[in-house]
């Protein structure tokens, strides 16, 4: 009898410990400087305002797989999750994320513009709440490129003018587009060409010309490290990472913004939360994505706020005191030639092209 009682008591305790108490929520993000900027801009003010304790998790890279597993186990422990737009679309497709109504669930701009207009085209999926615009761009070592620094994306493919290694991401997305662009395909035709077998072969053939000089990365921190060590002369990564190499660590690195690929990052709320947790998650989202808060985040990291109305509020870096606007991917000076990640295309072609890309890599 005593044993049964003990067992029952332990089980009850576990259940209580497992249930999230009313004053806590788990927010999942990417970690590093990015999570730090969210902590300062969103979490701390929100906790102060409501008294809710925010637990941080840094699982965003595996968010889709983990949410799928959680949902299958019927035990979703996350309240708000930061994911890239492509992942938000997949979560929405799988029914793992909550659909939101922008005008009801998100704050209007200070001048009364409804959220659906303020975010505009960036609302790429009914589940996705945009937060920042980031870009994948190139950085190069100023001391290793000679007197004429690279200024065009095709300089990446020019081994004669810029000998040395370059780092590219170990996946087809972005690389295939850049390769076609530098193989004479017009910008507006890139995805039509890439949808054909010949186009995919053409892109891989172009990449083949520099294959022996490429270091392939899989974590966003790799390129900054490789640049700092002098292992590569240029490399692609997220622009915020390059900002911190250039401005915070003062390495001899500069930006090559040409043909940068815009992508979006934002929040989703997992499907299947209890009413109480859902209400709290929505309350957090309403707070964290208003005009001022989005502009605040840009004080800590060089990613552009997703709202039109936030752009004029972007000021100086909180610690370095430098103007953030020229470091934003959306700055007119930087955004002369840009690409927008084509979500529909990659949702369809991702598996197919990735298989080819990996087979090509292994050759």
């Amino acid at each position: 009898m005593k044993l049964t009682k003990t067992l029952l008591a332990t089980t009850a305790l576990t259940v209580f410990a497992g249930a999230v108490t009313a004053e806590e929520m788990t927010i999942v993000s990417w970690g590093g400087a990015y999570s730090a900027s969210q902590l300062k801009a969103y979490h701390e003010p929100y906790s102060e305002k409501t008294g809710v304790t925010i637990l941080n998790d840094t699982s965003s890279a595996e968010a889709v797989a983990k949410l799928r597993a959680m949902s299958e186990a019927d035990n979703v422990t996350w309240d708000v999750v930061d994911v890239v737009a492509a992942d938000a679309m997949r979560l929405c497709d799988e029914g793992l994320a909550l659909e939101i109504d922008p005008d009801k669930d998100l704050a209007a701009a200070p001048d009364g513009t409804p959220a659906s207009e303020d975010f505009g085209e960036l609302l790429v999926s009914p589940c996705f709440i945009p937060q920042i615009v980031y870009s994948t761009a190139f950085g190069y070592r100023t001391d290793l490129v000679g007197d004429t620094p690279p200024s065009k994306i095709c300089d990446v493919f020019d081994l004669e003018a810029y000998p040395g290694k370059r780092s590219l991401e170990k996946r087809p997305i972005n690389n295939m587009e850049w390769a076609l662009l530098c193989d004479g395909v017009a910008k507006e035709d890139v995805y039509d060409v890439l949808a054909t077998e010949e186009g995919q072969d053409q892109a891989l053939a172009k990449l083949d010309t520099i294959k022996d000089s490429v270091v392939w990365w899989s974590a966003g921190a790799d390129t900054p490290q490789l640049l700092a060590d002098g292992e590569v002369v240029m490399g692609s990564t997220y622009n915020g990472r390059l900002f911190s190499v250039i401005e915070e660590q003062k390495q001899p690195v500069a930006m090559l913004w040409d043909a940068q690929v815009f992508d979006l990052d934002g929040w989703i709320i997992p499907a299947g939360l209890s009413e109480e947790r859902k209400a709290r998650a929505l309350d957090y989202i309403m707070f964290a994505t208003d005009t001022q808060r989005l502009a605040d985040q840009a004080k800590y990291i060089s990613y552009g706020p997703a709202r039109l109305s936030s752009a004029p509020l972007v000021g100086k870096h909180a610690e370095l005191g430098i103007d953030m606007a020229p470091h934003m991917p959306t700055d007119p000076e930087n955004a002369k030639n840009t690409f927008l990640y084509n979500y529909e295309f990659w949702a369809d072609y991702r598996d197919d092209i990735d298989a080819k890309f990996q087979a090509w890599l292994a050759k």
């Binding site: 949702a347 598996d351 080819k356 292994a362």
Partner: protein
């Protein structure tokens, strides 16, 4: 003695037959033993057997197609694809009814993702169709054939229908075929186009490189284990700490340290250039290739080889060697004919440990392997966490598991598993 024949079976003190009484006592003992190991048994079952079984089951599971399109699939089964004509209105009508229900439950996009593994374009076809179909009234809006083709031209593409028909069975061998670079097509089983063949290559590479890593662990570990076993206790304890030290350091730290050592601007290259052995513009490439993976993994797995060897060598009497020499053997003969055979159980145990660990290694090849030094496990991880093709990941995992078991069986046949000693 004479009266045993007529008293029947031997009785215990309480009058029950001794046989039954004994069996009862044994049963109680067995139950008690079972109770003692029950927590472990239940733990292993819940945390190990169930999840692995569940995961392996996904490699053949395919009920999503039939469950999402319950009306369409039986009708489609009767359709003869070889006529080259599209299915008739009845199929489109069933599809409309199925889709309205599926869109409501948000299952149509899941199905699209599933079928997109087989035919590129399915994902957006289902997603785009869902947005329109949700507004349809299944009774009032018939007929649907024209409507579907208006909605998306692909619904008039016979390949789409063939793909749905081919992959509609409740269980499928398709994932296993994909895992060995084959595919299930409407016209039967075929190999993948050459430009997409990679998995068999990765399996072979994983096996070969694991063998190389195992061999280099044996070559490097054997002398170390011998020294450890033959030094006086004080010194050997000191050395033991050096062997165990890597165990106390995080795997990631050790792997990253190799990156610092091996890269082109790294420590080893810097020293070689400083010594003048290597030109500054011709620094050695020692990382992001197979060499990097082999070096880093050999280092990480070395203790698993040294420890079993060491404990076996410790039990070998030094007198055997002395006896061999006193009988006229040279140093080499004494070692090779007398000492070495006695260490084989240790080598065997270490080899099994290192080989099985390295065959499933993931993080080290990912960091230092570049493109030519990655393993099949990196591809499994990709399909689990990025492409979400869990069926294919499960099939790859099942094959890997089967390969390990076959090798284990072969080892048992050739060397004998009784001949493995951890000490």
């Amino acid at each position: 003695m004479s009266d045993t024949a007529d008293t029947g079976p031997v009785l215990a003190a309480d009058g029950t037959p001794l046989k039954r009484s004994l069996a009862k006592a044994l049963r109680v003992q067995k139950t008690r033993a079972l109770m003692l190991i029950a927590p472990l048994l239940i733990f292993v079952f819940i945390s190990f057997v169930l999840p692995i079984g569940n995961m392996l089951f996904r490699s053949v599971e395919n009920d999503i197609v039939e469950e999402t399109l319950p009306l369409t699939i039986p009708l489609l089964a009767k359709w003869d694809a070889s006529t080259g004509e599209l299915p008739d209105e009845a199929v489109y009508d069933a599809l409309a009814r199925d889709m309205v229900v599926a869109v409501d439950a948000k299952n149509h996009t899941k199905l699209g993702t599933r079928l997109n593994y087989e035919l590129t374009g399915m994902s957006s076809l289902f997603r785009k169709s869902g947005r329109v179909i949700t507004k349809w009234d299944v009774d009032a809006d018939a007929p649907f054939k024209e409507k579907f083709i208006d909605l998306h031209e692909d619904w008039g593409n016979i390949e789409i229908w063939k793909t749905i028909q081919t992959h509609s069975s409740k269980f499928t061998g398709g994932y296993f075929l994909n895992a060995i670079d084959m595919q299930k097509t409407p016209d039967g089983i075929a190999s993948q186009p050459e430009s997409k063949q990679i998995l068999v290559k990765l399996f072979t590479r994983t096996l070969i490189m694991s063998l190389v890593i195992m061999m280099s662990c044996i070559l490097l570990g054997y002398p170390v284990a011998w020294i450890l076993a033959n030094l006086p206790a004080r010194q050997s304890n000191m050395l033991m700490i050096l062997v165990l030290l890597p165990f106390w350091t995080s795997l990631l730290v050790r792997t990253s340290a190799w990156k610092v050592m091996l890269q082109q601007q790294g420590v080893i290259n810097d020293v070689l250039v400083w010594l003048g052995l290597v030109q500054d513009d011709a620094r050695l490439i020692m990382i992001n290739n197979q060499f990097g993976t082999i070096v880093a993994m050999t280092h990480i797995l070395l203790p698993f080889m040294i420890l079993p060897m060491y404990s076996v060598m410790q039990t070998i009497q030094p007198t055997y060697l002395r006896a061999a020499k006193s009988l006229g053997a040279t140093n080499w003969t004494a070692f090779w004919r007398v000492y070495f055979p006695q260490t084989i159980p240790g080598i065997g145990a270490g080899s099994i440990l290192v080989f099985i660990l390295s065959i499933g290694y993931y993080i080290t090849p990912e960091i230092v392997g570049g493109t030519k030094g990655v393993f099949i496990s990196n591809r499994i991880a990709y399909h689990i966490s990025s492409s979400l093709n869990w069926g294919l990941a499960a099939a790859l995992g099942a094959i890997l598991l089967a390969v390990v078991m076959i090798l284990y069986w072969a080892y048992d046949k050739i060397v004998g598993i009784d001949n493995v000693k951890l000490g």
